[in-house]
């Protein structure tokens, strides 16, 4: 693995962790859901970088799109802010 590839991998992996941490951090649940979707999209990018495009498409379709839509519907029908 070349140095440039390593740097891209590390950047993507750190952003995934940052997205997951922000999902826990945000009190606004829509923001939390969106950061989770961003993390999921980055996982999909990582799958693509690891030469698994089939898994990347499945992850983008399920993790980033379908799950996010379900969460958004659920949040809209309940409370938007997390309780302190």
């Amino acid at each position: 693995m070349s140095a440039a590839q390593s740097i891209i991998h590390v950047v993507v992996l750190v952003l995934i962790v940052a997205g997951g941490a922000l999902a826990v951090w945000f009190k606004d649940l829509i923001s939390a859901v969106l950061s989770l979707a961003a993390a999921s999209l980055l996982v999909s990018l990582e799958f693509y970088l690891l030469q698994a495009p089939d898994v990347a498409i499945a992850e983008a379709g399920i993790g980033a799109a379908l799950t996010t839509a379900i969460y958004v519907i659920a949040v809209r029908r309940t409370r938007r802010k997390e309780e302190e």
Partner: protein, 234 residues
């Protein structure tokens, strides 16, 4: 307090970065291993350019069939346990955003088309029935967010949807058995592969991908709509 939390988060991120760097430097991805013999043999037998599709829809078709049965049982479980509960009292409709509604109307046909493309070209490019079905279903979810799930459900004929949902796995299982009746080994290619990289190049993989795509599309919608309808009781 917030500053301490931020410092904690930044420390965690830096530690993760260091860990990632260590892992990335030690991992060596297999680049030039070459293909094992059985994969080349399977690819030439099915005529599919996407080797993953030729494995899970020909060589390991029974795995996929059981995966489909697991999905069907999950959908059945959701419907069975929710049917005992009354639909909940619906909250007042949320004022719709014009931006969301306009973008959902613009995006839905393209998402549906992308889903069909992923399912139909699953044997030639990355994709397949499962991914195509979920992409198309996420288009339907987008419409549910924009105009409300009840408005989407009113445009879909529910009894025929439920019948179709069970007819599809039965069709797929029957199709897998058909080669036995013709005196060939079970789960083998239904149609002879033609090769050449066209859309009909790989025999029955196209048919299986399309059927699985429709099944996943309907199943996802049935599950999500069931949960939305019985909101508050779960």
């Amino acid at each position: 307090m917030t500053r301490r939390k931020a410092a904690f988060a930044i420390t965690c991120l830096l530690l993760t970065a260091a860990l990632c760097l260590l892992v990335a430097r030690s991992v060596h991805l297999p680049g030039g291993l070459g293909e094992p013999e059985y994969i080349r043999e399977l690819a030439s037998r099915t005529g599919a350019l996407n080797l993953v599709a030729s494995i899970y829809l020909d060589g390991r078709l029974y795995d996929t069939i059981f995966e489909l049965i697991v999905f069907s049982v999950a959908v059945l479980g959701v419907r069975f346990y929710l049917s005992e509960r009354r639909p909940s009292h619906r909250p007042a409709p949320i004022p719709e955003s014009h931006v969301v509604r306009a973008s959902a109307e613009a995006l839905f046909p393209f998402l549906l088309l992308l889903g069909i493309y992923l399912a139909a070209y699953g044997h030639l490019s990355p994709g397949g029935g499962f991914a195509g079905g979920t992409v198309a279903a996420s288009g339907l979810m987008l419409c549910s967010i924009a105009i409300g799930a009840d408005a989407v459900a009113r445009r879909i004929h529910r009894p025929s949807l439920e019948r179709l949902e069970w007819a599809l796995p039965l069709t797929i299982i029957s199709l897998a058995i058909v080669p036995v009746l013709l005196g060939r080994p079970p789960l083998a290619a239904l149609f002879p592969p033609r090769g050449g990289g066209g859309i009909f190049s790989s025999g029955s993989i196209l048919l299986y991908n399309l059927l699985i795509g429709i099944k996943v599309f309907i199943g996802s919608w049935v599950v999500v709509h069931g949960f939305i309808e019985h909101r508050g009781e779960i």
